[in-house]
Symmetry: C2
Subunit: 198 residues, 2 copies
């Protein structure tokens, strides 16, 4: 005896979510079917809508429904400063906790040759193109303080120097081995203002 | 600056899943948008399909696409034995690890007055109706060994006795305070065969 086909399918599908194993998927499916049917429909609709309309910003790779994200489309944001981060969550953390008024580049990952993630997968041809226009004076490296984050920062630093842009790395406060998005507000703010050229 | 409306909606919707907080919802949304777009569509379709066609079995409350679940529809399953469990996962665990060939009743919860979960919420009028037909000779109580699970077992035992059905409680092996679905196969099998009248 097994669960019915529709229930088996739902449990299986929930496992596409990161960190969700067989037991959690089962618990999630039961919960939605028993207590959150309206919420479940809302989730299905939100997923479909997000997948249909969310793309990457043409200039910075942030998720957006438009060709350009709100920041890249905002002419009051300084195009001479480009902060390079690993994830969209990092953009949000910096926006909420610092007074940075430049632009971003979102790698959507970090260099990891073992996992087949190289410069192309991080969209670095788009960043190269932006740098080649000659308007960027400073590239601020805000990748995580992990081994791969540091290797990625090094790679982007070399790329920036090839285009005669200054390079800085956010410095104080990000704990070694830590992920940027989990740093508290004060620490992140300090790390940002304490950046130094490398 | 905030995430785009479709992304904000998706992150918000993912929080209907149990155990998913703001950070996990964000991570799940990014993961689906970056790496699992096909999987995300599969999840949306599976959710919609499950919500559209999965109901509760008329006799035992198990999830099913049909009026009766596979077990209740199976005439070779003994209708004189009814095993009462808290969740559909418990049915699966018993089916996979014991040779029980009777039927079930799935409470979809346990008595919890503080949370507003009383006999009606556990569908006990359906069980009463089944007992009143006079065909049930033994009700096997397989609710969890928690305070609420024991109180629920006690309530169902009284109900069974009112209808002159024998009552037993699975006994050995289920650790006190433990949830049934996490018990290993051998322990559960032993607990089942070692049940005794109460
Ligand atoms: Zn952008
Ligand atoms: Zn049934």
């Amino acid at each position: 005896m097994a669960f019915s086909p529709a229930l088996t399918g739902l449990i299986d599908a929930l496992r596409v979510l990161p960190g969700v194993g067989a037991k959690s998927a089962q618990r999630m499916a039961f919960h939605v079917l028993q207590r959150e049917r309206e919420g479940g429909r809302y989730l299905a609709r939100s997923l479909e809508q997000a997948l249909a309309c969310i793309q990457h910003c043409r200039d910075c790779r942030m998720f957006t429904e438009n060709e350009l994200c709100d920041i890249c489309a905002n002419e009051r944001r300084d195009p001479a400063l480009v902060c390079v981060v690993e994830s969209p969550a990092d953009v949000m953390a910096i926006e909420q906790n610092t007074d940075f008024r430049g632009r971003y580049f979102v790698l959507l990952g970090r260099l990891s040759p073992i996992d087949g993630i190289g410069p192309a997968e991080l969209g670095l041809d788009i960043l190269r193109e932006r740098l080649s226009r000659g308007l960027v004076t400073e590239v601020i490296l805000a990748t995580g303080a992990t081994v791969e984050g540091e290797a990625t920062a090094q790679y982007v630093a070399d790329l920036a120097r090839q285009h005669n842009a200054g390079v800085s790395r956010i410095a104080h406060g990000v704990p070694v081995g830590g992920e940027l998005e989990y740093v508290d507000a004060g620490t992140l703010s300090q790390a940002f203002s304490g950046r130094r050229p490398i």
